[in-house]
């Protein structure tokens, strides 16, 4: 097709769609009266349009049959176990920082499977022991991935392969009721920030902008507690060998009933350190995990100086702190 004809292709398609204005229609008609190739092209498009219309009509006529199959399947299914609404998972959509907070809460919950590696213990005793052991923990470092996008009303179907990396250092507040100071890095450093002394500083690397806001924009609430631990149930432990390293490892699975969340945590038996943890936003470990944590480090003490924020050179500062 010649160049002037190529330019007509869009107008020809527009004519099929019935969306040409008067001027475009006139230009096209003028061209068609002189060009056999474009007349043939138009005939082809009209033929394909008829095919598409017939194809749609065929689908339309069988739509009720398809729909009725769904209704039959619905009726065949037994009573469903419906999960309650999950405030924690809902918040995952709000911002990257809240995604991070959710991931961290989930990991804190996951910590309560550690002590089960001792085969002789029962879950109830183990939880008490774990809380006591973790009472000494002042701060935690976590890294892993969270989904980039989830549906607006919750994580019913999470998209595979679209993840945001995260790193977070978070310290308990003085009362040890929830988190206090924190430092975080998201999406390979595209967003980095600090929470220090009830102020949040976040640096958007692409916009080279620092936003300073009053309050903690990332809070892990509650911190490690017996209440959090008691929500976990249905523990199962499987022992095996990591084929790659030959080291003994253990897979602990359990459910957190309060958050309708299920877990699989992998531990190195010798060091008793978690190797990785995954969490699903349902009680069946189904679908794509909503959190995948590859590294945890526990600190008995992490100095507050670690959380001080330095404004990067050349960054624009937007200070939204209330007076």
């Amino acid at each position: 097709m010649d160049d002037p004809c190529r330019q007509m292709q869009d107008l020809l398609a527009g004519r099929i769609l019935g969306l040409l204005n008067e001027e475009q229609a006139s230009v096209l008609n003028d061209h068609l009266s002189r060009c056999l190739k474009c007349r043939k092209y138009l005939q082809s498009l009209e033929s394909e349009n008829r095919l598409l219309v017939r194809f749609s009509e065929n689908i339309e006529t069988t739509m009720t049959v398809r729909r009725d199959r769904v209704i039959q399947a619905l009726n065949r299914a037994g009573p469903t176990t419906r999960t309650e609404a999950l405030p924690m998972w809902r918040t995952i959509m709000k911002s990257k920082i809240t995604k991070l907070a959710v991931a961290a809460v989930v990991i804190l919950i996951a910590i309560f499977s550690i002590i089960l590696l001792d085969r002789s213990t029962t879950p109830a005793w183990a939880i008490e022991d774990a809380v006591e052991a973790l009472d000494r923990i002042d701060a935690i470092y976590l890294s892993g991935t969270v989904p980039k996008l989830v549906p607006p009303e919750g994580p019913e179907v999470i998209l595979e392969d679209e993840k945001i990396s995260f790193e977070i250092w978070v310290k308990a507040n003085k009362e040890r009721t929830k988190s206090g100071n924190a430092r975080f890095k998201l999406d390979n450093g595209k967003l980095i920030g600090v929470i220090y002394d009830m102020t949040t500083y976040s640096y958007d690397a692409s916009a080279k902008t620092v936003l300073i806001e009053t309050g903690q924009k990332l809070t892990i609430d509650p911190w490690i507690s017996r209440e959090l631990a008691r929500q976990n149930r249905d523990f199962q432990v499987m022992y095996g060998k990591d084929p790659a390293t030959g080291r003994h490892h253990a897979l602990v699975t359990f459910v957190n009933s309060a958050q309708s969340t299920s877990f699989c945590v992998e531990y190195d038996v010798e060091t008793k350190l978690p190797i990785r943890a995954k969490a699903w936003p349902n009680t069946r470990r189904e679908g794509v995990p909503a959190m995948d944590c590859q590294r945890h480090v526990y600190f008995e003490e992490l100095p507050d100086e670690f959380f001080k924020f330095e404004i990067p050179e050349g960054a624009t500062v937007i200070d939204k702190r209330q007076d």
């Binding site: 969306l19 729909r67 199959r69 209704i71 309650e84 999950l86």
Partner: protein, 175 residues
């Protein structure tokens, strides 16, 4: 069609009322199927995923806070299920159109059309399928895809030309 509101039906479905949810299926199945066909590109997969989405939504419906948002919510579930399916197949290097097979002159023209639709890029396929299956209105497609009417028009125009190229290359046009 029953005139109970979506909100009312969602509230009843949350309590396990299958009759109420059946009314939602009747109301939204076509919308869900069109989204699935637009993403996966073939009728059989679209039917399977549309069913999976409708059944999954019933088990998860108590997570939906605003019943009036059932339509966008179920569409999003269906779309994400489709995207996951397509990606799993791509990972397994079994691209969806290869399953259908490249048609030749002896294959029914309807199958050729399906094959060609499956070959279109997603950003063209979804508006095209929605346009032809949902009343041939650019405005309706634009609203559902949260795009401008001119944006949808451009996609449709390009899709028609691309579809012509695919069918012509395989000798399936009678123009």
């Amino acid at each position: 069609m029953n005139d109970r509101s979506d909100e009312n039906l969602v509230a009843a479905s949350c309590k396990g009322d299958k009759a109420a949810y059946t009314l939602l299926v009747k109301r939204y199945y076509k919308q869900v199927f069109i989204v699935c066909l637009g993403v996966v590109g073939n009728v059989q997969d679209a039917e399977d995923v549309a069913q999976e989405a409708m059944l999954k939504a019933f088990t998860e419906i108590s997570r939906l806070r605003k019943g009036a948002q059932f339509g966008p919510w179920i569409s999003r579930i269906a779309e994400n299920l489709c995207i996951n399916l397509v990606r799993r197949r791509q990972r397994a290097k079994r691209i969806i159109t290869e399953n259908v097979g490249q048609p030749n002159g002896t294959v029914a023209r309807n199958e050729s059309l399906q094959w060609a639709i499956g070959k279109l890029p997603l950003e063209m396929r979804l508006p095209l399928v929605m346009y032809y299956l949902d009343g041939q209105s650019v405005k309706v497609v634009a609203e559902k895809l949260d795009m401008s009417s001119s944006g949808v028009y451009l996609k449709l125009r390009t899709a028609l030309n691309e579809l012509h190229r695919l069918l012509t290359e395989h000798g399936e046009t009678d123009g």
